[in-house]
């Protein structure tokens, strides 16, 4: 089933970590195999923030892999070495959990493709996000568990999207959890509720064009599909509109960039979405109770229609 939620404050920052936690926790009945946050925090915009994992959360039920946590240290050393070889300088390093790390790095080149390919050539190492504002945090458990584990409730920023997952298409693990980074574009993230039925055909086409897939979760296709459209010169909105015909199946998804938030709904409107829109805040979720967690007062909401694409700027 899965639940998705997102919000964007226009013209100001807010405690988006805490707000998104409330929205996703309200949707936990839609799935609590894993929960993910894509938070667009207030930063000075100088350095990249790289969130990455060097292994899975094997202690809490990951279905993908069993391994000794001692290998994580070895993998981290290789990451550090490769960063040095790429000319990236680690400004700040946080090891939130044995398998999950946050690096603030100085890196001059704009093309992140070569960078990502080198880092991810290390087995089981995956960049969860790379951006100057975006941080993707995803792990097993419901929204509150993940928020508490990573201390997200104090994150201040302009917008955020998140996902509460009931695993259906692929395993219960971090690599299959949402949000997905729009590799290799900095600050692009995607969450999705639905099923894509032309996943393998699209995946083969995109892999032939040099794009990478880290999981077998059909939702990852959306991030890669839109990233490829943007590589070809399309705007975010154009890429999203193209997805309405390029992707087959039922879906509602959100895409966020450094300064915008978008939603798209398939042409059969088969997946739910409730939307609240005002001059200073847009909040949306699979169910109204998600919005109610940040706006408990009586508000006007509506369901976007089939084939609808909307994009808001901060």
């Amino acid at each position: 089933m899965c639940g998705i939620a997102g919000l964007i404050h226009r013209g100001k920052s807010s405690n988006v970590g805490s707000e998104l936690q409330g929205m996703l926790q309200a949707l936990k009945h839609r799935g609590e195999d894993s929960t993910g946050y894509a938070l667009y925090g207030d930063t000075d915009g100088k350095n990249f923030i790289m969130r990455f994992k060097v292994g899975e959360n094997v202690g809490e039920g990951s279905s993908s892999i069993m391994e000794d946590v001692s290998v994580y240290d070895e993998r981290k050393k290789v990451v550090d070495q490769y960063l040095s070889e790429l000319g990236a300088k680690i400004i700040k390093e946080e090891r939130v959990l044995p398998y999950s790390l946050r690096y603030e790095i100085s890196y001059d080149k704009k093309d992140l493709l070569e960078f990502s390919q080198k880092i991810e050539s290390i087995p089981e190492v995956e960049i969860l996000s790379m951006g100057k504002s975006l941080e993707v945090i995803k792990d097993l458990g419901n929204a509150k568990m993940v928020c508490d584990r990573y201390g997200l409730d104090k994150v201040v920023g302009t917008h955020a999207i998140g996902h509460a997952r009931m695993a259906t298409e692929s395993g219960v693990d971090i690599k299959s959890a949402h949000p997905f980074w729009g590799y290799p574009f900095s600050d692009v993230s995607v969450v999705h509720n639905g099923q894509l039925t032309n996943y393998w055909n699209n995946r083969r086409l995109l892999e032939n064009k040099g794009m990478r897939f880290m999981s077998e979760c059909d939702s990852e296709l959306i991030a890669v599909y839109i990233a490829q459209k943007m590589r070809e010169g399309a705007s975010l909105e154009e890429g999203m509109k193209a997805s309405l015909t390029g992707l087959d199946g039922v879906f509602t998804y959100f895409v966020a960039t450094k300064d915008s938030l978008g939603m798209a709904k398939d042409t059969m409107a088969a997946k739910p979405l409730v939307l609240y829109e005002s001059d200073d805040l847009v909040a949306m979720g699979s169910e109204e109770i998600a919005i109610r967690s940040v706006l408990p007062q009586e508000i006007d909401t509506y369901d976007p229609y089939d084939g609808e694409v909307k994009v808001w700027q901060i």
Partner: protein
């Protein structure tokens, strides 16, 4: 809903030779016979007084707790209940099989007023997906918008939304009337089998797709017709009925019904007619 006190008694349908096969478990069918009404009892039905009114704040209640309390209040004879702070909770007001004036001061989540039979409900807010699904009788009025699957499988009563509704409005509808003051999404009237849908605004693609029977009236633009949906002549009787229905629904006061489009099923399925099983037997 009726439960049989005396399962040994044969129903009229069974005595006519129908349903003689041995049915067991959850699929066993029971057929109501008015001649044997004394053998049936109805749970959740109470003598209520519409002038006996109370408020119920459900802010700190779960949906089952709130619904149980509504039932409790009806058992005490309250005929008018005002629900405060529904705050988008799911499944509020479900399964009310009684006459009752129910007013929600706020919005409801999914399946609001689902599986009801008899109440008159006013919701001063919005309702999520599957509002009033399976409504048997009564009237449900929503002040703002509603989500998809609005009035799914309704069998009777009036379901009115003064705002706009999502996709698949009246899906699998089997009777009753749905009235929408604003727009409706794709697949409106999808697989509807009976009843009437009135949309004063625009509708999305695939209107009336795979409809078996029933009638759809549209006031605005139509995205596209679904398979089996065709235009029909809007008669004087239709217009009179529409005027009356809109007036009772307190919606579209000055709406020009003469310009509405009427859509019906264009294909009669070989194995379908609009008779109930026992009516079929009588016709033969």
């Amino acid at each position: 809903m009726a439960n049989i006190k005396n399962p040994e008694t044969k129903t009229k349908a069974q005595s006519m030779g129908m349903h003689t096969e041995v049915l067991t478990g959850r699929t066993q069918q029971k057929f109501f016979n008015p001649d044997e009404a004394e053998n049936f009892y109805y749970f959740g039905t109470y003598d209520v007084d519409f002038n006996k009114r109370t408020d119920l704040d459900v802010k700190d209640m779960t949906a089952p707790e709130a619904n149980k309390e509504i039932d409790n209040l009806m058992s005490q004879g309250y005929g008018t209940i005002v629900i405060k702070n529904p705050q988008g909770k799911h499944s509020l007001g479900v399964g009310i099989l009684n006459k009752l004036n129910l007013i929600f001061e706020g919005s409801l989540g999914y399946f609001g007023m689902g599986s009801c039979d008899g109440p008159t409900v006013r919701i001063n807010g919005r309702v999520g997906w599957s509002c009033a699904e399976n409504l048997m009788a009564g009237k449900v009025v929503i002040g703002k918008n509603a989500g998809s699957c609005f009035g799914a499988a309704v069998r009777g009563g009036d379901l009115i939304c003064k705002g706009s509704v999502g996709a698949r409005t009246g899906i699998d509808m089997k009777g009753g009337t749905i009235i929408v003051g604003g727009d409706a999404g794709a697949f409106t009237g999808f697989m509807m089998q009976r009843g009437r849908i009135i949309i004063l605004g625009d509708v999305g693609i695939n209107l009336g797709d795979s409809m078996y029977d029933g009638t759809i009236f549209i006031g605005g633009k139509i995205g596209s017709y679904g398979s089996d949906a065709v235009d029909a002549e809007l008669t004087k009787n239709d217009q009179d009925w529409l005027k009356r229905k809109l007036k009772v629904a307190e919606i579209g006061e000055n709406f020009d019904v003469s310009k509405m489009k009427k859509i019906v099923a264009g294909k009669k399925l070989w194995n379908y007619d609009n008779l109930e099983p026992h009516e079929k037997k009588g016709a033969i």
